[in-house]
C-alpha cells in the first residue's frame, strides 16, 4: 500500500520561521556571549530555517527517496568546495 501524506500546516511553519528569525536577531545583537559561540548558534538557526523551507515548502519530506537523494547530491560537493577553500587559509 502506498503511503498517503496529509498536507502540512503551512502557517505553523511560517510561525516557526518568523520566531527563528526573531531569535537570530536577538542572538546577534542582544545576547552577551562570545563571538565564536554566537557564530555557531547563528549558523545552526540558519540551517534549521533552511531545512524547514526544504522539507515543508519544497515538499522534500513527502518525496520519494530517489528524488531526495537527487536534491541533496550537491551538498557533499558544496562541503568539499568550502573545506578546500578553508584549507587555502590554513596552508
Amino acid at each position: 500500500m502506498e503511503t498517503v501524506h496529509k498536507r502540512p500546516n503551512y502557517l505553523l511553519i511560517w510561525l516557526y520561521l518568523a520566531l527563528l528569525t526573531a531569535a537570530e536577531l536577538g542572538l546577534a545583537f542582544e545576547l552577551p556571549i562570545s563571538r565564536n559561540v554566537k557564530i555557531v548558534f547563528l549558523m545552526f538557526l540558519a540551517v534549521w530555517k533552511a531545512l524547514l523551507v526544504a522539507l515543508f515548502f519544497m515538499h522534500l519530506k513527502f518525496e520519494r527517496w530517489n528524488l531526495r537523494i537527487l536534491a541533496i547530491a550537491p551538498l557533499p560537493l558544496a562541503v568539499i568546495l568550502i573545506l578546500a577553500v578553508i584549507t587555502e587559509k590554513i596552508w
Binding site: 500500500m1 502506498e2 498517503v4 498536507r7 528569525t21 536577531l25 554566537k38 549558523m43 515548502f57 577553500v85
Partner: protein, 222 residues
Amino acid sequence: MTHATADLMRPPFPAERGVDVYDNKLGMWVFLGSEVMFFTALIGTYVILRFGAEGPWALPGIVLSIPITAANTFLLICSSVSMVKAFAAIADGDRKGLSRWLLATTLLGATFVGVQVYEYMHLVHRGFLPSGYREGSELAELAAQGVLPAATGGLYGSTFFTMTGFHGFHVTCGVICMAWVWLKSLRGGYTQQDYRGVEVVGLYWHFVDLVWIILFTIVYLI
C-alpha cells in the same frame, strides 16, 4: 492489497521512470543542484576573503541597516507561504485562490527587490561602494576615526554587492516568472488535473528564499 488513495502531496501527473517525477520538476531539481554549487562558490569565496583578510572585518550593524533587511527577510518568508498556499489552492481545484495567492507572492517578491534597491541607494549615499568606502563620505569618516576597519573596506564592499546582487537578480527572475504564471492562472491555464507550472516555479521561489536565509545570517548577522 493495494488501495488507490489520493495523496495530497503527490500531484496526479505522468511521471518519468527512475526518479518517478514528471520531467519539468526533475529538470528544476537538477537546475537547483547547479544553483547550490553557484551560491556555494560565492559563499566559499566570501569565507576565504573574510577570514583570510589581513585586518578585521566591519562588525554587523555599523554599515548595513539590519532592521530594514530583517523586515525584508520576513517579507520573503511570507512570500514562500503565499506560494505554498497557491499550490494548495490549485491542488484543491480553487482557481481563484490560486490567482490571489500568486498575486500576493508576486507583490511580496517585487517589494523585496524594491527594498533591496532602496538599501543599495542608501548604502551608496552613505559611501559604501563595491570598491570600499568613498572618500569624503560618512563611512570614510568612521573608518578614519577607527570605528570601521579601513583596510578591508574594499573586500567587504565587493563581496557584499556580489552576493546580495546575484541573489537579487535571482529574485527578480523569480518575480518575472511568477507574474507570468499569475497571468496564465487568470486565463485558466492551470487546473486541478495539471498544475505543473505552479509547482515548478514554486520550487525555484522557495530555493531563492532558502538561499536568502543563509545569506542573511552570513552577510548581515555574523
